[in-house]
Assembly symmetry: C2
Homo-oligomer: 248 residues x 2
DNA sequence: GCGGGACGTCGAAGGGGTTCAAGGCGATCT
DNA sequence: AGATCGCCTTGAACCCCTTCGACGTCCCGC
């Protein structure tokens, strides 16, 4: 797969280097295009940190002085309205970058849904790296464009789809995210609660619950245990997401 | 009205520095950080074009071989659902970049709401420029992050705000966009139809019409002529957008 | 074991926005 | 001027999703 996944003898002593070997960012994320030397420099400047589920990586309004890469685990990014309502603007998985912004303060909360390991860089350090490694800056731009496209797609979902179509689209996006990370599993991790999903889709948690129950009764999905889904009928779910399904 | 208006719709010019001098991109857009020399090189590679209102710059699915900067005019970016429903993912104004993506084909339609002048670059040319001018690539990244933040904000609007709050938020975003371009006018250009606004906000055109009528009756706005609004009570509109307004 | 809290499910009622329908207004063309 | 068309407005009925309430389940701490 990735030629750099082989442990290099000169870096074996470097604890940080070993971390990079297993980082999700190597497969699909920021560090994908980097060679061993660049990787080594980055890992020497980055700090790894471990945070428990439900902790905040940062809060909306905090000074945006750090950038994170999710090594493993799942995070949700949320914006709060003055009246207390919440909107999840996105979920982030292994390898995704969190908190890169040109603004002075973060425009959203970043909360962990699972225990997670993160790779932390201070903005000045990252800016230096971006200057020294044009490939890195290019990669950052690519990731940003991808994220923008995904957010626009989400806008379509929230703005124009019915409740069940939104939930279906969410499930499909889970499959896509899993595939992008190279984990084509039958059973997907889904650490988010009904409320999280509802806040992502612009629905209430009851509506999400009812939709998932409906899918289950139709034999489209199974939830073997809490926080895990199996999609039994991807075509039907896809059709529902696209509004092509007239039978329901 | 428009000095470049000619009988033929796809007229192309190649005037160098003079064109850039008046381009919106110098004030707030991509070319803002460039010096005269770089600007000269870009303008020699770029083609200016003039397109009439309601024409398409490109269509969703077209091979993404070109990138455009809007010199003046307004464009809407839309995604189409299989069932024919439409979602406007954003409006673009003078100086904004349109059509930069890493995908093979454009993920949305770009349609002009007004007559417009555009600056066109082929992707290979742009990639070359980005490589030669790191400032340009950096600027592109910054613009992308800004756009992402704006789209996330829009997600909050569509996902969690009431109909009138959405329309209010839209009006405020118009003011912001106008200010960003350095045009702090009392009366704003609003070339989009009720249907355009509705497709942007995830509403029907009837609901948009009713909301605007309500604002007018409350003395918050005036529409002196077609496609032009004056905000008479920005605080009230802002409060409505934020859901802080209990009196309605 | 038992209590408590977080999370999920389900039913009934209500409402905000949609849908459907009709008409008005201004611009353009003949 | 009259006709046509696109856009906007307004009314009335409907409906999908929300709201509210109740209950079930699982898990964890005591």
């Amino acid at each position: 797969m990735n030629p750099f996944d082989v442990p290099h003898p000169t870096h074996e002593a470097n604890a940080a280097g070993q971390v990079c070997d297993r980082c999700g960012s190597r497969v699909a994320g920021l560090c994908q295009p980097l060679d061993a030397a660049a990787l080594d420099e980055i890992s020497s400047e980055a700090n790894q940190m471990v945070l428990p589920a439900h902790s905040a990586v940062f809060r909306e309004g905090d000074p945006a002085g750090r950038v994170f890469t999710l090594i493993d685990g799942v995070a949700k990014l949320t914006r709060l309205l003055p009246d207390g309502k919440q909107q999840v603007v996105g979920f982030r998985f292994a390898g995704d970058v969190i908190g890169y912004t040109t603004l002075k303060s973060y425009p959203f909360d970043a909360e962990l849904l699972t225990d997670a390991r993160l790779c932390r860089l201070d903005r000045p350090q990252l800016d230096g790296l971006l200057r020294r490694y044009p490939k890195l800056e290019r990669r950052m731009l690519d990731l940003c464009v991808q994220e923008l496209t995904a957010t626009q797609e989400q806008l379509v979902t929230v703005g124009r789809r019915s409740a069940e179509a939104r939930v279906a689209a969410f499930l499909i996006s889970l499959v896509d995210a899993s595939r992008r990370r190279g984990e084509p599993r039958q059973v997907l991790e889904m650490p988010m609660t009904r409320a999280d999903i509802a806040d992502f889709l612009g629905l209430t948690l009851e509506t999400v619950s009812r939709s998932l129950t409906a899918f289950r009764k139709r034999g489209w999905i199974r939830e073997p245990v809490h926080h895990r889904v199996e999609l039994l009928n991807v075509p039907a779910i896809t059709a529902m997401a696209e509004g092509t399904n007239d039978s329901f």
